[in-house]
């Protein structure tokens, strides 16, 4: 009964979304207040209806209702409760419902917190958000309905893919989706502004918190996914340049660019049409990402992912929204007149450079991702584009970005004097070069990667500190500290975010350059040395888990003769899903991880054991979390909460003609 109600509310939500996408839009066009105001209750209603629908599906999973096809395919009575819940979005249909839920939530948030928006703009934003909702609910209802019943329910389910039964991955999709779908808000704002025909500083201020929210959740989502790959896939890689990963990385890059260009719109009323274009493209890449992941077009060797119907539908959604928005852009972008005037060397100039680097790097990832498809379709060449290409083509952009970042961040607006702006940074540069040189001498005969990584990291982190310090002005230390405390949160967010980028760069460089790997057959009781550690295989035993059987090894790790840890790497077999998994055991440390994996038993009675020393591995994700923290700090800035500037900007709006 509850499931049927959920199905019904989803259909109702579809109808409400149609109303939401048409009525406020017409109202805004004609200037009918009543019709415009219709958007807000509709957005709230749509969210509540989808929310109920999602709750109903969750209920079906929690109670293991095996009359539901989706539950049979993705759940099992023995599965731990946490994974029964997260199993709701561990599949195509459920995850799409989660996507729609978040979409509806953002639409509702625009109506709840959009009180300071001009009513016309708000009505249009909510309408565009509603239109996206219509497209996706139709997609769900007509091609991937999660509420389909089975005529003859089986006694038990087929279990969730065991690799998804993991905390890192369980919470990876919600964050990622908040990111993807959050970009729909930037898109809606962009389209609304294009219909409106005007973009001003206030628009930049409104669109930024939404972009920031999307970007920081995308950051967390990607970091979780990467961290999961690191500990779950069994050889400690953290990024594979897989099409699925690239699908999430491209919107992230564009969202980062959008975040920065919106600042120029807000502060200087320039870069308007570019920012609008970025907002459209950022969401476009979210849609393309959904298409890549769900259609299986880039993974066609695998039949299970191959669903042409879904692919065609998603391609149509992408085409309609991108085509429509870009046409609108072409027609209206000319009306966006820039006001701000500034020199080549200025904060604006630096932000433009940031945008060029981020946008081109995104383009490179995009070309690399779809090239195999293009080559096969047009040139009849079956080829691969793998990590070596991406490492080579993408890394220079990040290095260039890191080089210009600290200077760009402290350049004054309008017109800057390079020599004067560099003054506080010379010390930082000297420190960075010194640290890079130190790393270079400490490591002998290895790649230049680690010294460069260390140099850039110090340059970024210390540069961020100097950024904050120079902001405190002249005077005695106490007054400087007081001023530092009173700096806007957005300034702190900026410095923290930039420092996080540096931390991640160092983690990536150090791990790539200094990893130690040991592969061997060990007999029980064998002790051997890996790096500075002594490793002993103590025992291997079979262990029964809740819904799996495990082969668990006991491995002692000694540092300087002292016991550091006893690690228990496992090989699990999930009988219901019929899938084995590896569970690496990791001793996490500030400067290194000790990472052990147990392999197959050998003919001579020993076990294959793989041991890695992974230097500074955690810095990669710590950096990402610090970046996200910077985003959160910025988001809590008083200006966004109070929207003081928004009120000021509203006054002239009322006096202006509608179109």
């Amino acid at each position: 009964m509850i499931v049927e109600l959920g199905h019904f509310t989803l259909i109702l939500a579809f109808v409400v979304a149609i109303v939401q996408s048409i009525v406020p839009l017409v109202g805004a066009q004609k200037g009918w207040r009543g019709w415009m105001a219709m958007g807000e209750p509709a957005a709230t209603a749509q969210f509540l209806l989808v929310g109920f629908s999602f709750a109903a599906l969750t209920y079906a999973f929690v109670t293991s209702d095996f009359s539901l096809r989706l539950v049979v395919l993705n759940s099992h009575t023995l599965k731990p409760m946490l994974y029964k819940v997260t199993g709701v979005w561990g599949n195509h249909e459920g995850s799409l419902l989660l996507w729609i839920l978040i979409l509806a939530l953002f639409g509702a948030m625009a109506s709840w917190f959009g009180g300071n928006l001009p009513p016309r703009l708000r009505a249009r934003v909510i309408a565009v958000q509603g239109a996206i909702g219509v497209a996706f609910i139709a997609f769900l209802l007509f091609t991937s309905n999660p509420f389909l019943r089975l005529e003859i329910p089986p006694f038990d389910g087929q279990d969730l893919n065991p690799l998804l039964q993991d905390p890192g991955l369980a919470f990876h999709p919600p964050f990622l989706y908040i990111g993807y779908v959050g970009l729909s808000m930037s898109f809606s704002f962009a389209v609304a502004a294009l219909i409106e025909g005007r973009v001003d500083a206030a628009w930049g201020r409104w669109v930024r918190p939404w972009t920031l929210l999307a970007w920081l959740n995308l950051t967390i989502g990607i970091a979780l996914g990467s961290w999961w790959a690191y500990y779950e896939l069994g050889w400690g890689g953290f990024w594979f340049w897989d099409p699925v990963e690239n699908a999430s990385f491209m919107p992230w890059l564009l969202a980062a660019a959008l975040l920065h260009s919106a600042i120029v719109v807000e502060k200087r009323e320039a870069l308007k049409s570019w920012t609008i274009l970025l907002a459209i493209l950022a969401f476009g890449f979210s849609l393309i990402g959904a298409f890549i992941v769900r259609s299986g077009v880039l993974t066609s060797v695998h039949a299970f992912a191959n669903d042409p119907e879904r692919g065609v539908y998603l391609l149509a959604i992408t085409g309609i929204f991108m085509g429509g928005a870009l046409t609108l852009f072409a027609a209206r972008a000319g009306a966006m007149q820039a006001k701000g005037v500034f020199g080549l060397v200025s904060r604006e100039g630096a932000l433009v450079a940031n945008n060029v680097l981020l946008a081109v790097s995104c383009f490179v990832v995009f070309v690399g991702t779809i090239w195999p498809l293009v080559a096969e379709m047009f040139f009849d060449r079956k080829l691969s584009v793998g990590p070596p290409f991406f490492d080579m083509a993408f890394t220079p952009f990040m290095v260039a970005l890191a080089i210009i970042l600290p200077l760009g961040a402290i350049l004054p607006w309008k017109r800057a004097n390079l020599r004067r702006s560099m003054q506080p940074l010379w010390g930082v540069l000297a420190l960075a070069i010194a640290v890079g040189a130190l790393v270079w001498t400490l490591q002998t005969g290895r790649t230049i990667l680690a010294p460069i990584g260390a140099l850039l990291a110090v340059w970024l982190v210390a540069g961020a500190a100097v950024d904050i310090w120079t902001r405190t002005g002249r005077g005695e230390l106490p007054s400087k500290l007081r001023r530092m405390k009173n700096l806007p949160r957005a300034d702190w967010g900026k410095a923290v975010g930039h420092a996080g980028f540096g931390v991640t760069i160092f983690g990536v460089a150090a791990l790539t350059a200094w990893q130690i790997e040991d592969i061997r057959v060990a007999q029980i009781g064998d002790t051997y040395t890996v790096g500075n550690y002594e490793v002993t295989l103590v025992d291997v035993a079979r262990v029964q888990g809740s819904n799996y059987v495990s082969t668990m090894a006991q491995i002692d790790v000694l540092e300087n003769g002292r016991q550091l840890d006893r690690l228990t790497p496992e090989k699990r077999v999930y009988p219901v899903a019929g899938m084995p998994t590896t569970e690496a055991a990791i001793n996490n440390g500030f400067t290194r991880d000790v990472y052990v994996v147990i392999g197959d038993p050998q003919d001579n009675g020993g076990w294959a054991v793989r041991t890695f020393i992974k230097p500074y591995a955690n810095w990669i994700w710590a950096g990402a979390i610090i970046m996200a923290l910077g985003g959160i700090l910025s988001l809590t800035d008083r200006r966004f909460r109070v929207a003081a500037g928004a009120k000021r900007a509203r006054a002239p709006e009322q006096g202006m003609p509608a179109e």
């Binding site: 699908a247 060029v356 220079p396």
Partner: protein, 148 residues
């Protein structure tokens, strides 16, 4: 489910990649083998190098790479041998020939294009500053004021 596909595809069985019995005794050759393996695709996997893959074919290819190296082939010889045998699909780094030039040149060309547009734009933004600085009336007025 973003990862679902990745997961299902990458992992048919637990990843184990290089097995202890494959490792060559000569550490220099083994290092070269590992380095080469990282750039060669496991043909039955998705986007996975033979160094990372646990598939049987990947194992055969790893062994093949090591055999060629032991036989005295240079790195390029090994790569050529594998390309001849399996096609260019085996290369994770696509060759910069023919249409692939477009792939390799995409980054520099876009950077030049983007950078060029950006510079033109920024110059354009700087100009009104000069034009707006002082109008003719203002200049004459300024000149008058300066006389005093």
């Amino acid at each position: 489910m973003k990862r679902l596909l990745l997961v299902l595809i990458l992992i048919a069985t637990p990843l184990w990649a290089v097995q202890p019995d494959e490792v060559l005794d000569d550490p220099v050759l083994e290092d070269r083998a590992r380095e080469l393996s990282k750039g060669l695709r496991c043909l039955v996997c998705r986007n996975e190098s033979i160094d990372e893959s646990n598939a049987d074919l990947a194992k055969d290819m790893r062994v093949l790479v090591r055999e060629r190296l032991v036989a005295g082939d240079s790195d390029q010889d090994v790569i050529d041998f594998l390309v001849e045998r399996y096609g260019e699909y085996v290369l994770l780094t696509p060759s910069a020939t023919g249409a692939n030039l477009a792939l390799w040149l995409a980054a520099p060309i876009m950077l030049l294009l983007g950078g060029g547009i950006a510079v033109v734009y920024l110059r354009g933004r700087a100009k009104p500053a000069a034009a707006e600085a002082l109008s003719k009336d203002e200049q004459t007025r300024l000149a008058e004021l300066m006389k005093d």
